[in-house]
């Protein structure tokens, strides 16, 4: 049971991180490879603030959210919008956005690496204390419980918003056919900015919770999660909210089982091998659709 709890906790972190990426990729066609840098830098900013003043969990979470959202907006306005304006076609724009995201991510990474000398950083000076709750043989920290709740609530909220709200419908229509959506009066730029802000906020939030949960992260931690989130989205199916959750918990389960039952050196090989096998039979992902691919 403890292992199952570990899977749920780890899966929640993957979900929280991947949810924002999935949202932008599945709707406004932006595969943001700067997502890992946003995740890290939000946490890094909170760390810097904590060096100057004591803060509790709510304010640190808020700080992570705001920094993440602002960074994401900046990337959208300064980089991705410029790429889209200048690209000769959609496919070129997608490729350039991918490369642009990698390029943009180097800046916050370099700042954090320079400041920390690549040493880990954490929130040990925060007033928030991570406590462990014991229920029989089961142990869970308050921050792990919070991460699970936040991930599930945000996932449900994002799925419901996309399916039920007018704005969600508008966003999905952009994902299906941006030009037709524009002809129907949908403001693509405004929707893209909102989506990027939400996505960045999620990255910032997950960065803060992840740092609290692990005690410390490094400037490079976001890169490791980026690859895993990418795998989660592909496995579940691009644009599918159900798919990204499936991918996150599937990957967490595969990693935990392999790590605890075999040698750790097989974790990536087995986990990603399983994903590859699934994709052989379901190329568009477990919950992805080959024709209309949005949510």
């Amino acid at each position: 049971m403890q292992d199952l709890l570990s899977v749920v906790t780890l899966g929640s972190i993957y979900l929280l991180f991947a949810l924002g990426m999935s949202l932008t990729w599945g709707t406004i066609d932006i595969l943001n490879f700067g997502h890992g840098a946003i995740f890290m830098f939000s946490s890094f900013t909170a760390y810097l603030v904590l060096q100057q003043t004591e803060l509790g969990l709510p304010l640190i979470v808020l700080l992570g959210l705001v920094v993440g959202a602002l960074m994401s907006l900046l990337i959208q306005v300064l980089a991705f919008e410029q790429i889209i304006k200048r690209a000769k076609d959609k496919r070129t724009a997608e490729m350039q956005i991918l490369i642009g995201g990698i390029g943009v991510a180097i800046i916050p990474l370099a700042i954090a690496q320079h400041h920390t000398k690549s040493n880990p950083f954490g929130f040990s000076s925060s007033t928030f204390t991570v406590d462990t709750w014991t229920m029989g043989d089961l142990r869970i920290t308050n921050i792990a419980a919070l991460s699970i709740v936040v991930a599930l609530v945000l996932w449900v909220a994002a799925a419901v918003w996309l399916r039920r709200s007018r704005q969600g419908l508008a966003l999905r229509s952009i994902g299906v056919d941006a030009e037709t959506a524009a002809l129907m009066g949908i403001d693509r730029r405004k929707m893209a900015l909102v989506t990027m802000a939400v996505s960045g906020g999620m990255a910032g939030l997950s960065g803060v919770l992840f740092t609290f949960g692990l005690g410390a992260i490094t400037a490079e931690s976001g890169d490791t999660l980026l690859v895993k989130a990418f795998a989660c989205i592909i496995l579940g199916g691009v644009g599918s909210m159900l798919g990204v959750a499936f991918g996150a918990f599937f990957l967490a389960a595969a990693e935990t089982v392999v790590l605890t039952q075999t040698s750790g050196s097989w974790v990536e090989a087995v986990s990603f091998g399983l994903i590859f096998l699934v994709l052989l039979f379901r190329p568009s992902g477990v919950f992805g659709r080959a024709d209309v691919r949005r949510t």
Binding site: L10, Q113, V130, L214, G215, A216, E268
Partner: protein, 394 residues
Amino acid sequence: MIWNARRGGRRKIAVAAIATGVLLSVAACGGSDAPASGEGLPDEIKLVSVNPTTGVVAFAGASANKGYELAVKEINESDLLGGSKIKLEFKDTKSEPQTAASALTSAITDRDVAAVFGSVSSTEAVAMSPLAQKRGMPIIYTQAGSDGVVVGDYTYRATPLMSSYYPIISRFIKEQGYKSVGVMYTSVTPTLQEIGQKTYPQLAKELGFEITKSIATSATTQDFAAPISQLLASKPDVVATLQVGASNPTVMTQLRQAGYQGKVLGNSGASAGNLKPAGKAGDGMVWPVDFNYQQNAESSQKFVAAYRAEYGEVPLNYAAEAYDAAYFLARSMAAADSTDREAIKDAMKEEAAKTFDGALGKDLKWENGTLQVPGVMVEYTTEGEKLLYEGAGE
């Protein structure tokens, strides 16, 4: 030892390919015109430190450069080189093997460069060593503990292999009366893997304790809750964790969250301030290391005082190793009375046959191109590192 976290077979092949490519390009450039042997030392001797000061192992590279800088300053102020002055240049590898190989290539083709201080990163060092050996460039590394670094008479490593001094932990295990150990090690790095897979089983055999569980973690493991849960379920008296630097605060935090309050047997990757983010949870980790600023040797304390005066802080092991590496090279150049690379190589061989007192301790000796030291045992507390004992202590 320093390793890049994302290392694997493909990366090694890539590194080998880079090294081979650069090697071929250097070979095509023709030989350098190094100063001839027997002409005496020039007024200015150019040395290059090819180390990462940005990127994932910047903390070690930057610290090593401070050690080189301090030693060069002292050497230039002394009469060791008969009035010749060392000019030390720094090249940042950005923690990238290809950049390291490229910087070394530039140094090799610069006829004024007498020798190079090689990278602390094993990944970078294995890309550099074949070049240095093939093209006859004397190179001294610190850290870089993997195979393929010391590959011939031009290559030296002024850091002992961890497996050579790690067994001093035996005394601690005996004193604490541990009868069982749970081991968790990273499979990313050959050195830590060796400690987990070979050194601990060997110690268990010698000291008669049981290894209740041995778990390997992967390169991308960031959450250790599941392996820790498995480890503690085997009910060991003490936990041993062998992780790269950045993972140590997480492991300590999650061990405490899982209810484990005892000591933790670690490795020197936890030093250099890496445990600080863990706060009080980091208290109680112990590890053997090749240097600690509190060690007693007179030569070590002389170095510590000079370092404090220069930088206003206590030195890390990376700086101490670099300091000794610089002096080793300076003594060799003085003995060669030349900056001819081959003459330096011959002099280094003779110098390596002698013992010396340095920052790392007293009566230090070289074995197969790698420095040997007895090591010290330290314990982490939030107030700072506490020196437990020096050497085997017996």
